[in-house]
Structure formats: C-alpha cells, structure tokens
C-alpha cells in the first residue's frame, strides 16, 4: 500500500533501481497493430528462449534483490507508433549511456528471427542489421529508434511512455514519475492552483473543438453541488484516428492520474471512463490499471493521507459515433439513447445525473500530469502561442509510414507528411489529405505549408478534430471521398434534428447521383445550399460539421465535380458508373474467357475471333479486365 508521498517516492526509487539492475530490457510492441501481425508469438518465443538460457526474465518491483545484474527483462509494451513496420521489438540497455531514453529498434520481427536476436544481440551484443529500419529512398539503416526520421521529428510528451513501459505493471509507471503530479497537487497545491496552472498552460481540448480545458474545470469548480463527476471521453469514433486507443492501451495509469487531477481541481470524487465497444484491449488494460491503483491505495479514500478520495468506473459504449459529443455521451452513461441535449446548461453546470461534470478527451487528460508536474512554462515551450503543447496525429491512408505520431503544434503539413510520414506510398503523387475525420476537411497540395494548429486549420475550413490524417494520392476521387464521409455521417446521425437527419440523407443522395454519373450543375448548387442549412439547423457538432468534407472538396476540387456533372467523367478513374470497357480487336485472341466471367452476359463473339462488349448491358464491374490474359480489354474513364 502507498499511503504517503514518502512511500510513493520509496516505491519509485525501488522501481528505478530494479530497472537499472537489469542487464537488458526487451519491449515487444503489444499495440493492436502489432498484435494482429503476430507480436504475441514473438513475445512468447522471446520470453521462453531467454528463460531457457537460465536468465531471470521476470522483474519484480517489490524486492530489491529480486533480480540479478544478468537478468534480461522481456516485456510487452503499448503501441510504439510505427505500425507500418510492426511487429516492433525494442532493446534497451539501462547501463549504456548511448541508450539513455533510446533503444535498438528491430522492425517486422517474425518468430523465426527470435533465435538470431537472442544469440547475436542478447548474448554477443551485436546488431542484427537485416532487422533494422532501412530508409526506402536513401537506403540508410538506423540502429537506434530515436534516429529514425519517423521518430526524430517527433516530441513525445503524452506518448512518452508508449512503447517504453509495460502498461500492466504499475512499477514501470512509478519509475517514470508516475503519480508524482497528483502527489504534488495534493501536497503543495490548492484546487485553484491546479486550475491556474492549467490556465497558464493554455491546454486546449484534444478531442476536436479545442476548447480551453481550464475554462471547463473552472466552471465546474464554481458549482456548489457536493456531488460532481469527471468523465473521460474514450469514445474515439472518427474513422482514421486511434491515438486515444493507443494511450488507453499503452499508458492507462496516465489517464487515471489525469482524471484524478481533474477530480481534485473541481471537487469530484468519482470518475467514469467511457470506452468504445470496439476497443476491448483498452478496456482490459484500463480495468487492470484501476485494480492495481486501487490495491495500492492510489485510488480510493484519503489518497496519500489527504482528504481527497477518488474512484473510477468504466462504461463500455455500444457503438454510436454521436456519443463522442459530450451531452450524448452523458445520456449514454445514464442508459438512454445517446442523443445530444441543448446547451446551456453546460455539462459543467448540469451534466451526468444533473450534477456538475467535466468531460475531457483521453489525450487531453494524458497531457495534464505533465503540465502539473513540470509546470505550464515547460509545456508552453512546445507549440505556438494560441495552440501550445503537442498534438498526436494518426497518420494513415496512402502514406509510406503509417502510424501514430506526436509533434509540437504548428509543424507544417509538409513536415508531417513528408519528413515523418516518408511521403506518399509507392512514390505516387500527393493529392490531398483528409484531416479531422468526417467533421474535418480535405486539404490540397497548396496547403502543405500550413501550420497544424487549431486556428490555422479553421481558417481554411478544416479542423484538427481528433487528429486523423488520411493521405490520398492522385488515384483518389475526391467526389467519391466526399460521398463516403456523407454516408458515414448520414448513418451516424442520431435523428434528433430534422436538418441533420434529413439533410445528410438528401446530401448523400445528391453525392451518389454525381458519383453515378447522373448529376447536373444544379445539383452542385443544391448541395451547397443544403450544407448551410444542415450547419445552421443542427444542435451538435455532428450536424454542424457534417457538410465540411463536401464543402472543402467542392471548394478545392471543383474541377473534379465539374468533370463528373458536365462531362460525366471521373478524372481519377474511380467511379464505376463512368467507366466503359472495350475489347481491343487486335489483341483479342477469342478465348471466350471474358464472356464466361461476365455476370451480365454482355460479351459475345465467336471463339478465335475478337469478342465485343455490349455497352447497354455492361454493368462496368471490371470482371472481364481481371479475367483477360492478353490485356485486350481497355478501360476508358
């Protein structure tokens, strides 16, 4: 049990001592991406192989003499972020100066590589070159993780522990100054001091809207009700974003500590974490972390002997995007349909069960312990004046280095996509980036030098949102992308506001019509008109931002829309309805293969003579192109 700050310090010292006694630490990534690529098999094989060498693989933080100098700790960690290269294995040498805060990173490790890693790296101290990251363009290999361009440009504050500690082990979090921020707040700071420090830090909500966190806290702190709640919003619904998932899975204690600080600041003693149903691993790791913290007295009554008590419950969502909106999330915790409520009253005044409630996103709460422990000035060293600190982005789509990154606010899109992301996959040309999920917008080549911060993005009609960055190459049809997002928001509209429920449906119909090659110029006008109505007439962020993808694509890719409606042509060759297929008579050998696969029987001819496609019956499915062995079928957009 840890009942005083002194005991916390003792445990942290012990944990650090034990960590430093280990000869080597091996961290196998157990984030969702790496697990799916088979990292668990790698972990188990590594653990068993090391154990067979008579090395002590378990590190116990309770006893000083629990491990010998020769021990090799084999651990699984949270997401390292470099998902493209998984499964990742990081090897740290606590006794080497070169390794301080860094380690050797092996990429795409398969179980068959384990024997060589153990023999060469663990026993002889050599590096296995073929498993190192190799730059696809320069061909240079990198031994240390921190040197890889993907990592070198990053500043990891909220993600600092991800890939570095074992999330299921409290001792590892304590060794990284875990729970020191709440200890500092409880001993040296009043709740008002905590709010002032947050105010000085300028932290803005990382869930999308960018509302100043301290303002929410101050509003809830003012309320006199003795019962208040802290809610952690882990309902990360934006398709293409997975930072909250990674933090909950990889560093759950940091989320707990952030919630405790919020609870202390506003005078709440109960908290809820609302996690998406699609994230079972996050639920499991959070449950385990809460249990460990409770067992040690870090959660419960009179924490560190103070008058502050706090407990945390987990609520699993049931699959509704709109529940990311705070009032809908509250309704969902209460057991109702997750529909937004009008504001005011704001949750800080009347929230969960009518009580003052602070709702913060996972990433926001994860930033709090750093700010309280190191101070607002330290946090403000990063980022830009109006958007201080760092922001995580999920870099996905057609980018070379898919993964999770954290950078100072204000870095340009070019630096993120090209220097960290390694440019467009397969050397293709960059066309656009969709930022902020279905509420955000599409940005073009012309925006590559725009700084990524709340206000700069808003000025061009996009938003940071939760931080999803989906890169698209020249083969992407922007009209089809807009249709895709409209389909998403139309599906997820809760149905409360008519403008959102009906408006998104009508907008989707119009988009579908254009994609099907049946659109006209007047449809574009109608779309723009509808967009304004949906924005103006909807209660919550879902409806207010739903038209953004259409508005930004119409603004920046108008020529593509015009090509679809005026020429009935899809410049990117994506929209099926506008394609047509012809058989090149000179190349056709008359094998009849295409005629046999055609689902519509649109192809006819005589064997050993050129076949012909009947354009009237053709469904434009492309099955014939795939079937033809002689490349005799041409696709015309």
């Amino acid at each position: 049990m840890i009942t005083t700050v002194q005991e916390l310090n003792n445990r942290a010292d012990l944990a650090r001592k034990v960590l430093n006694q280990v000869r080597l630490r091996i961290l196998v990534c157990a984030g969702t991406g790496c697990l799916a690529n088979g990292s668990l098999e790698v972990y188990e094989l590594l653990r068993d192989t090391v154990a067979a060498l008579n090395e002590n693989v378990e590190v116990v933080f309770d006893h000083e003499d629990s491990c010998q100098k020769t021990a090799i700790a084999v651990k699984h960690s949270g997401c390292h972020g470099f998902c493209e290269m998984g499964p990742l294995v990081r090897i740290e040498d606590p006794n080497s100066e070169r390794h301080a805060g860094d380690g050797i990173l092996y990429c795409k490790v398969r179980p068959e590589d384990v024997a060589e890693i153990v023999e060469r790296t663990l026993q002889k101290g050599e590096v296995v070159d073929r498993l190192l990251y190799k730059h696809p363009v320069t061909g240079e290999t990198y031994t240390y993780q921190g040197e890889i361009p993907f990592y070198a440009k990053q500043t990891r504050l909220s993600l600092a522990n991800l890939g570095h500690i074992d999330p299921d082990d409290l001792g590892e979090y304590l060794a990284q100054d875990g729970y020191q921020a709440i200890a500092k707040a409880l001993t040296d700071m009043t709740p008002a001091d905590v709010i002032n420090e947050m105010d000085a830090s300028g932290l803005r909500g990382r869930g999308g809207a960018g509302f100043p966190t301290s303002r929410k806290w101050a509003a809830a702190a003012q309320e006199s009700d003795p019962v208040k709640y802290v809610v952690c919003n882990g309902d990360e619904g934006d398709p293409g974003a997975f930072m909250d998932r990674s933090v909950m899975e990889g560093d759950p204690h940091r989320v707990i500590e952030g919630m405790m600080l919020a609870g202390y600041a506003i005078g709440a003693s109960e908290g809820y974490i609302y996690v998406r149903a699609e994230y079972p691993l996050a639920v499991k790791r959070l449950r385990q972390a809460i249990k460990l913290a409770k067992d040690e007295g870090l959660l419960g009554n009179n924490i560190f002997g103070s008058s502050f008590s706090f407990e945390i419950h987990i609520k699993e969502g049931a699959g509704a995007f709109v529940c990311g909106e705070e009032s809908a999330l509250i309704a969902s915790i209460e057991g109702e349909r997750g529909m937004p409520r009008p504001k005011p009253p704001f949750p800080a005044q009347k929230g969960l069960w009518g009580k003052p409630t602070v709702i913060n996103n996972v990433e926001t709460l994860a930033a709090v312990p750093y700010i309280i422990l190191r101070g607002a000035d330290e946090f403000r060293k990063y980022g830009v004046p109006n958007s201080p600190g760092t922001k995580t982005f999920a870099l996905t789509g057609e980018v070379a280095n898919t993964g999770l990154i954290e950078v100072p606010m204000g870095l340009t899109l070019r630096e993120v996509v090209y220097e960290i992301g390694g440019g467009v996959r397969g050397g293709r040309e960059f066309k656009a980036v969709q930022i902020g999920g279905p509420s955000g917008g599409c940005l073009t080549k012309d925006h590559l030098d725009i700084p990524l911060d709340f206000d700069s993005l808003r000025s061009v009609g996009a938003m940071i949102g939760s931080g999803g960055l989906v890169v698209m190459h020249e083969g992407t049809c922007m009209v089809e992308v807009a249709r895709y997002f409209m389909n998403f928001t139309q599906n997820e509209s809760c149905g409360k506001c008519v403008t959102c429920r009906e408006g998104t449906r009508r907008m989707l119909e119009l988009e579908q019509k254009i994609v099907d090659g049946e659109g006209s110029l007047s449809d574009l006008e109608l779309l723009e008109e509808l967009a304004v109505v949906v924005q103006d007439g909807s209660l919550c962020g879902l409806g207010k931002t739903a038209p953004n993808p259409i508005l930004t694509t119409m603004k920046y890719f108008r020529d593509e829309y015009l090509a679809h409606v005026e020429d009935h042509r899809c410049p990117a060759h994506v929209c099926q309805a506008m394609k047509s297929y012809f058989i090149i008579a000179e190349k056709c050998k008359g094998c009849s293969r295409c005629a046999r696969v055609c689902p519509a029987n649109a192809i006819s001819g005589k064997v050993k003579e050129p076949y012909v496609i009947d354009q009237e019956t053709c469904l434009r499915c492309g099955a014939c192109v795939a079937a033809c062995k002689f490349q005799a079928i041409e696709e015309v957009a």
Binding site: T32, G33, A320, E334, E336
Partner: protein, 162 residues
Amino acid sequence: MPPIGETSELERINQVIAEYGNNQSALIPVLQQVQEVYHYLPEEILTYVATALNLSPATVYGVATFYAQFSLEAKGKHVVRVCDGTACHVRGSTPVLNAIRKKVGLTAGMKTTGDRQFTVETVSCLGACGLAPAVVIDDRIYGQMTPEAVSIVLDELMKEVD
C-alpha cells in the same frame, strides 16, 4: 447458443442485473451481457429485462435499436466485420467486402447466410488503421487484406464448417 428462456441463462442475466442495480444506467451493460449469451437480443428477453429494470419495453427497445453493437436478429456462427474507416476505404476495403460477400454466398440486402454460418457486416473504424484494410473475423484481426487473401482465410473457416 442456448434456447431462449433457459433457466441457467436467465440466472446469468439476473446476476448481471443484481451486479449493476435495477435502474436505467444498468440497461446498456445488461443488454451487452444478454448479447454475449445469445449473440443477439431476443425479443422475449428484452421484455424480461424491461420488467426487471422497471422500464417500459419501449424504452428498452429504443435503446436496443439505437446502438450499432446490438442486433435484434440472430447472427451467424462466424461474424465477419469489414472495417470501412477512412484509411481502410482509401486502401480498398470495398473490393474486400464484395469478395467476402460473394465467397460466403450473400446476395444484396442479406447480412447472414441461409445456413447461419456467416454474418458479414461493416464497421466504421476499428482503430487499426495501420493495418488497412482490416477485417475482423470472430474477434481476430486480419490486416492488409486483399480479395485474394481474405478468400484464403475464409477457405480455412469453411473447412471447419464442413
């Protein structure tokens, strides 16, 4: 899947209700447990839950139909979920979905095969964007799927079915 209304299963649901308390905030966790037991929400059980939680059947039905996780129809033995998040979509989840539907023999509008072996659905985002396009079959994630690769995975499953 147990027959609807079997005593031991009702016992389990009673336990869940006892654990969460009989008020509305218990409703979603209880429905999640019911779905865990039956793989869907049978209508009879919804009425039972409503009575146990002191709610109207309409309230329970309203919540059950609101959330995507709940299904009022029985699902197949294997549930195939194709991620159609943005990252998966731009990397070609649609051809993967079409290949799966064709492979298990689903025609337009159908979600579950006639023999109740496969249910195929899409999900908005699994948060596994690094693996795009991703497919989840019975809670196991398969990354970087192509129509050909998913066909091999399904072949394995279909062998078990036989």
